[in-house]
């Protein structure tokens, strides 16, 4: 049975950083979606989603990231994904979404973008 998704939220150099602490699948994607919406209500200059401890994302998780991209574009907020592991990168490639997102290896690099 899946445990609930815990998402750490911090501010680094003026950027809001959301760091989900476990895999994002169909059961957890709604929590991620709510966290992104709440973060954007605070009108940050930039949103960074730190995926460095996320080993698995399914298409529900990818759909949530696509929604985040749409919302940040509407709000004119920069969005960067940080710390993607090879499995998540493969998923982004197979769904041809890698080119749509700005990605960085670490949160520190993402906050400089």
């Amino acid at each position: 049975m899946n445990t609930p998704l815990v998402i750490k939220s911090t501010t680094v150099n003026g950027s809001t950083v959301l760091a989900p602490q476990s895999d994002i699948d169909m059961s957890r994607a709604p929590t991620m979606r709510d966290a992104i919406k709440s973060a954007l209500e605070a009108k940050p200059s930039k949103l960074v989603i730190d995926l460095s401890v996320v080993n698995y994302v399914d298409s529900s998780g990818i759909a949530t990231l696509v929604e985040a991209l749409k919302w940040t574009r509407e709000e004119k907020v920069g969005l960067t994904l940080a710390g993607l592991n090879p499995r998540v990168k493969t998923l982004m490639e197979i769904t041809k979404l890698s080119a749509m997102f700005t990605t960085r290896a670490t949160v520190e690099e993402a906050c400089k973008v």
Binding site: M1, N2, D25, S27, D58, S60, R87, T95
Partner: protein, 158 residues
């Protein structure tokens, strides 16, 4: 499919149970000889298939029955998987992934399944619900670095 599956799982259509099935698939795929990237995609494809059953077959109700049967196959070497449910039947010709140029949430599951698996066939079950038959074979690199398992009945009988 003549012999008994290596693994059979019956779960309720509850998204919180998907991680349990992912663990079983990952373990059997490693046993067969799939490398990390193939295992990741195989696990994802099965997960997407189950997600579609929960969402579309059972309309997000969590008490529907889903059966997952997995066989190792010897020729070609790889895995065969059958997923069955008692949910709403769908015309197989209408099961399509969306165009990837259309960037929007949702609709990626069927695309991921077809992209990942060597075979993917949906059909209505005569007694109701749907059956999805899937197969994925080892690629050349995986074949070169893995060995047939002596405990595989299909191989030991041949």
């Amino acid at each position: 499919m003549e012999r008994e599956p290596e693994i059979s799982i019956r779960i309720f259509s509850d998204p919180h149970l998907l991680a349990t099935v992912r663990g079983a698939i990952e373990g059997l795929a490693k046993c067969v000889g799939f490398h990390d990237k193939s295992r990741a995609m195989l696990t994802l494809a099965i997960d997407e298939a189950l997600t579609n059953v929960i969402r579309h077959g059972y309309g997000d109700q969590t008490h529907g029955m889903i059966w997952v049967h997995m066989w190792r196959s010897a020729d070609p070497r790889g895995l065969r998987i059958i997923i069955e449910d008692l949910g709403k039947a769908t015309d197989p010709s209408k099961i399509k992934g969306r165009e990837l140029d259309d960037v929007r949430p949702g609709g990626l599951g069927v695309h991921i399944i077809k992209e990942t698996m060597n075979e993917a066939a949906w059909e209505p079950r005569p007694s109701g619900g749907m059956r999805l038959t899937l197969a994925k074979w080892l690629n050349a690199e995986e074949l070169a670095t893995s060995y047939p398992s002596p405990s595989n009945p299909e191989q030991s009988n041949s």
